[in-house]
Symmetry: C3
Subunit: 161 residues, 3 copies
């Protein structure tokens, strides 16, 4: 693949990923990752100080599936939906067919409870630091580190970023 | 046109469209659409339930021109301007020379009344579902469906999204 | 360079620029500009009326370096960090190897003082009107005009946009 194809493949994966979450088809969310993978949501203050604690941590596709089951069957939370805007995508490295790509995101949250129905707020901003296997059929994340600026999280983080 | 040219033509149309609204040159806004067209702003809750009611509905370029005349001569509203950020552009289909493209938008509104002058707020987030005739000279929308997350609309929706 | 290479070079410069500010490596910020350059932050109301007064004004790389020194050693301000999203990039002209490019930005500010730690707000939206020397090695801004919608600036503008 040439550099143009790689850029577009990375864009396409990031946008399909965001669409999956924003349209609440979370059952497909684990399939954006390889079997062995790392998905981590970590506050910026921890990253900056080299501290390891993450808000979400999954190191296999199976753990991602567990999260979705918990989301659907166990977790209690106020109804809402997300809107991602992902931009400033930069290819930062390439090694053994794995592309490193960084991007900036903002997630807006629209509340869907009767009282605040249809109100939108800035829910989270931050950076994606991804490692991506760019494959002819469909690209996948081997690693997705979400560095969260907004470490004072409004209510709770239940839907993945 | 190859896939690269189509991607760039879609991006260029979306960005020229946003620039037209944000720079308040609304008189040119109808020219972004074909003569026969559909422009619809519909709350996400209606779309999700298959309900048809839209907040704005225009099914010809003439109706779009009417809206602009109303905007300039009849409507009363607090002075403001918009800033669109459009990203996550995905080509979702292609049939008979018409490209289907989805994207995410956020519109920020800056108030221009004496009291709140220069204050910016998140006004609307949502999705564009567009059908686009990509032509050598200038591409146009045959259909632009704006799915609005923020269905509790702050004050009123007077400037198109 | 063909049109594709120019588009990507412009994108890459804009995103590297935003990354430099957002990761607080401001010492590298002046190197994004040519020696002779113009960096200006101007409220939209002034631009619209043809009024010249700017909030920040630097017309050489040296003045940009001064700003960084002031930022590190003299200025007093509440701790915070930025997150830029830059999108809607349009190439608007090309003359003697200098590319004119306009884009839309939003800067989110996350507060880092003990009381409001980790809270994110919309800090500024607006438009970049850039002139860029696109060079094989590294592209640079000869001119970067930041037209600010949010002219009621929250607290003060100390970190560049």
């Amino acid at each position: 693949m040439d550099m143009y194809e790689i850029r577009f493949a990375v864009e396409d994966l990031l946008h399909a990923y965001a669409h999956c979450i924003d349209s609440d088809t979370l059952e497909e969310w684990p399939s954006f990752f390889t079997e062995d993978c790392l998905y981590k949501v970590i506050p910026r203050e921890n990253t900056d100080q080299g501290l390891p604690i993450a808000v979400m941590y999954c190191d296999s596709q199976g753990m991602l599936k567990d999260r979705v089951v918990a989301h659907r069957k166990a977790n209690l939370y106020a109804p809402h939906f997300y809107r991602h805007l992902v931009s400033n995508i930069r290819i930062t490295g390439q090694q053994n067919g794995v592309i490193a790509a960084h991007s900036h995101y903002v997630v807006f949250r629209t509340l869907a409870d009767p009282l605040q129905y249809g109100t939108t707020e800035v829910y989270s901003t931050g950076e994606y630091r991804d490692k991506i296997v760019v494959a002819p059929g469909r690209s996948k994340f081997t690693e997705k580190i979400v560095i969260v600026d907004t470490c004072r999280i409004s209510s709770l983080l239940v839907t993945p970023l």
